[in-house]
């Protein structure tokens, strides 16, 4: 949305309004993921008659949302049938192996976006105006959401890092602030002789433990 080439064209008030209303794009994308419209369209429900049935949502709500998502480039519309853009098909359809739509839940968590509610005060102060510590209080349950919701987008980089950091024989890996534990798990999957110790708050470790079980990897937890 860079305005660019300012000197070569008349001023466009649309650029200002597009930025003022940008928050609606965040809200609409989150709603489309939450109502799971992308998965419904990906599974073949492509019309304003069938998508509401598949998602248990209102036909009016779905119609307005899908038309907005078409303007935003995540859906395509041909006559009365919607289809997925390549981004929606790859990253936002739950049936895609590269799905990470749940990241929208975490990244738009009310506790996280609260820091943007009065950005003028932040700019004047030069630092956050939220209470001290905020989301980094010990054992804050937000980081359980983080571990669950952000995990799907980590797999590719976790496996790439495991490849780069690969060693032979017995190695010990300390995974500090392990979260979902997927970085250590990827290393242990590659080399079963690697010995992973995950350091994390207790509540979050439950998620790393689940992932360890799921991928059949033994991880010690601190």
């Amino acid at each position: 949305m860079n305005a660019g080439n300012s000197a070569l064209r008349p001023p466009d008030p649309g650029i200002v309004f597009e930025s003022i209303n940008a928050y609606q794009r965040s809200a609409a994308l989150k709603a489309t993921v939450e109502v799971d419209v992308f998965s419904a369209v990906g599974a073949g429900d492509r019309t304003v008659e069938s998508i509401p049935k598949a998602t248990n949502a209102s036909p009016r709500g779905v119609r307005i949302l899908c038309d907005y998502m078409t303007l935003s480039g995540f859906l395509l519309k041909d006559a009365d049938r919607y289809s997925l853009s390549i981004e929606a098909a790859t990253f936002l359809d739950r049936n895609s192996p590269a799905y990470f739509g749940s990241a929208a839940y975490f990244m738009l968590n009310p506790d996280l976006i609260a820091g943007f509610q009065d950005l003028s005060a932040v700019v004047r102060a030069g630092t956050t105006t939220l209470p001290e510590q905020g989301t980094v209080t010990p054992d804050n349950p937000l980081w359980v959401d983080f571990a669950r919701q952000m995990a799907p987008m980590v797999h590719p980089s976790a496996h790439e890092i495991a490849e780069l950091a690969a060693g032979e024989g017995e190695l010990r890996v300390l995974d500090i602030a392990a979260g979902h534990g997927l970085f250590g798990i990827a290393m242990a999957q590659r080399n079963p002789k690697e010995y992973i110790v995950a350091l994390e708050w207790a509540r979050v470790l439950t998620v790393a433990r689940e992932n360890g079980c799921q991928f059949g990897v033994a991880v010690r937890y601190l």
Copy 2:
């Protein structure tokens, strides 16, 4: 931000993250207008040393905000000096006759954006989930803000409409939901024989009255 040409390129996760984080663009633009950085830069304060002094804001906050607004296309940066994009110079610098930055206050008023806080529930219900009437309760003071903050962007269209609707001799114009009153005022400015009656809630009429005085136009108010 249309994804476009989906079939011709690999999926770009950046498009998803850009939409998830779009709300930050709205917050940053509002803050830049509120702290009045655009007017400071327009008046010649162009560095991270001088802008904070002119705006009474923190150097750290101003630096981060200005760099973000550069990426967003509203500021340009050359070495350590910022300048205004043509949109910022025209619409967001208070010293520009076409300034309408105050629209960001109204359009991002917490009462108005509240409807987007749980858009999934809205899509499921097919209608707003806010309390009945919401911002249209009689005499809601929000519309005083509307009349003040949205007025600057109305002048061009008000004068164009006055031209299109122009008559000769004595005409009577009823301006229903007059708000700032600028549409009727523009007509009366063009033809002093026009007799304008503005219909509006009492609190909002005070703004129309002020504008009538400012432009030397007699308007009757209902």
